[in-house]
């Protein structure tokens, strides 16, 4: 019973039974909530309607429900939601349905503030409707307590999924930013250039390796300049990747130069004790380019006009 949106390991994915224990929802609580059915179900229309009157006073209403079809759909979903709530069948399907709601809210960008406020308004409506019932005070208090617990459980799940989804968006964004930037370019006959920006993790290193080796194969270039001035950190793992890349290009007859060794990177590499061996390095890309022209017996002249 797993749909793919929350298979992520980024959040809390406790199952129904564990959550029920966590929120201390007893069988008695469940009976109290179910006991509401008879009284509450006929009032459901009224409750949802009153809730939407509240929502209408909020800017979100215009934003999300300007279209009457969307409004109608949301109201229908809300009916189902509260029916499930009163049935209080606390199994994994129940938890799943709450996660779906969290996913929906995150997707449309409804704020947590309005969600929490909305749940609080519902809680209030519950209490008001309960008060119309001729129950002993103790019964009434116990029912409201039970409702509160389940409402909190619901809210917690929605909040968790919301967080996971936001985290995943951030991860995906930074990943796509990193992936955008492995364009190996032939900047001159025989010369390839790749400026690397950001984080070099193992996947990125593999991407760079593949991109460079296939570019060498395609262009028969003899020099590869790998500019790392935009790399966030050069630790032993990154250094190891860079060394491997240069070794691989050399096997294909293409000498690599690592350019853009800033003073900070140089010092870090010294402290780490990384030995770059025979790999050519330069402070900036221009030096690397000049060296490349020299070794290819090329000269750049200024033309008199």
């Amino acid at each position: 019973m797993m749909s793919n949106f929350y298979t992520s390991d980024a959040g809390d994915m406790r199952n129904a039974a564990t959550l029920q224990t966590l929120y201390k929802i007893s069988e008695e609580d469940i009976q109290y909530i179910r006991g509401l059915g008879e009284f509450m179900l006929p009032q459901m229309d009224h409750m949802v309607h009153t809730w939407y009157e509240w929502l209408m006073t909020q800017p979100e209403y215009e934003q999300f429900f300007a279209d009457s079809r969307a409004l109608h759909h949301a109201q229908k979903m809300q009916h189902i939601y509260w029916e499930q709530f009163i049935e209080a069948q606390l199994d994994d399907n129940y938890v799943e349905s709450r996660r779906k709601i969290g996913e929906t809210h995150a997707r449309i960008g409804l704020s947590m503030t309005i969600f929490f406020a909305g749940m609080s308004i519902f809680h209030d409506l519950f209490s008001k409707i309960m008060a119309q019932r001729n129950l002993k005070l103790k019964e009434q208090v116990r029912t409201i307590d039970a409702v509160s617990k389940l409402l909190h459980l619901d809210t917690g799940i929605v909040c968790e999924v919301y967080t996971i989804m936001s985290n995943e968006t951030i991860t995906a964004q930074s990943r796509s930013l990193m992936e955008m930037s492995t364009p190996v370019t032939q900047i001159w006959e025989n010369i390839l250039l790749l400026p690397v920006v950001g984080i070099v993790d193992s996947k990125r290193a593999q991407d760079i390796m593949n991109a460079v080796l296939s570019a060498i194969n395609r262009t028969q270039s003899r020099i590869f300049i790998l500019d790392i001035s935009g790399v966030a950190v050069v630790d032993t793992a990154v250094a190891n990747h860079l060394i491997k890349i240069t070794k691989a290009t050399r096997l294909m007859g293409c000498e690599s130069t690592i350019s853009g060794i800033s003073p900070a990177i140089a010092q870090t590499m010294i402290e780490l004790g990384i030995d770059v061996g025979t790999i050519k390095t330069t402070a900036n890309m221009m030096d690397a380019l000049n060296d490349s022209f020299r070794s290819l017996n090329l000269q750049i002249h200024k033309v008199e006009r």
Partner: protein, 141 residues
């Protein structure tokens, strides 16, 4: 092992759970950002971030998961940054050996731990086999 780090003890800390490669990225950015906001220059902030990256990688590589706590230090006469990296992984049987240059149980460079020690002002490591490893590093402004 006394690994019970309480959140109350570190009111201004950033806690990062490390269990996948993306968390390393986050620990790099957060430590670099905090170092720079404390007044470390670009080069020294990068060194701190590199040390954190190194320790975070060790967590993923040898212990699968752990956590990193980055804390600003404000003492009366000096300020700096402290980073705690702890895991409940397999531990290191011979810490002295692990601290040597070029010692690696996994065939990589083996420069991580000794390199981190060189980059930082203070370095403490405690490790118990089958219980875990805790490294505390500090750098002063």
């Amino acid at each position: 092992m006394g690994y019970s780090t309480k959140i109350m003890d570190y009111p201004k800390s950033i806690w990062i759970v490390i269990h996948r490669e993306a968390d390393i990225t986050r620990s790099i950015f957060e430590s670099q950002r905090m170092a720079q906001s404390l007044g470390f220059d670009h080069g020294r902030a990068q060194m701190i971030a590199t040390a954190v990256s190194e320790l975070a990688r060790n967590i993923i590589k040898y212990a699968q998961k752990g956590k990193i706590i980055i804390t600003p230090l404000n003492e009366r006469r000096r300020s700096g940054i402290e980073i705690i990296c702890q895991d409940t992984g397999p531990g290191i049987p011979n810490v002295d050996q692990a601290m040597e240059d070029y010692f690696s149980s996994s065939g990589t460079l083996g420069l991580g731990l000794p390199g981190v020690k060189r980059m930082m002002d203070e370095f403490e490591i405690t490790s118990i086999v089958n219980q875990g490893t805790k490294v505390i590093i500090r750098k002063w402004l």
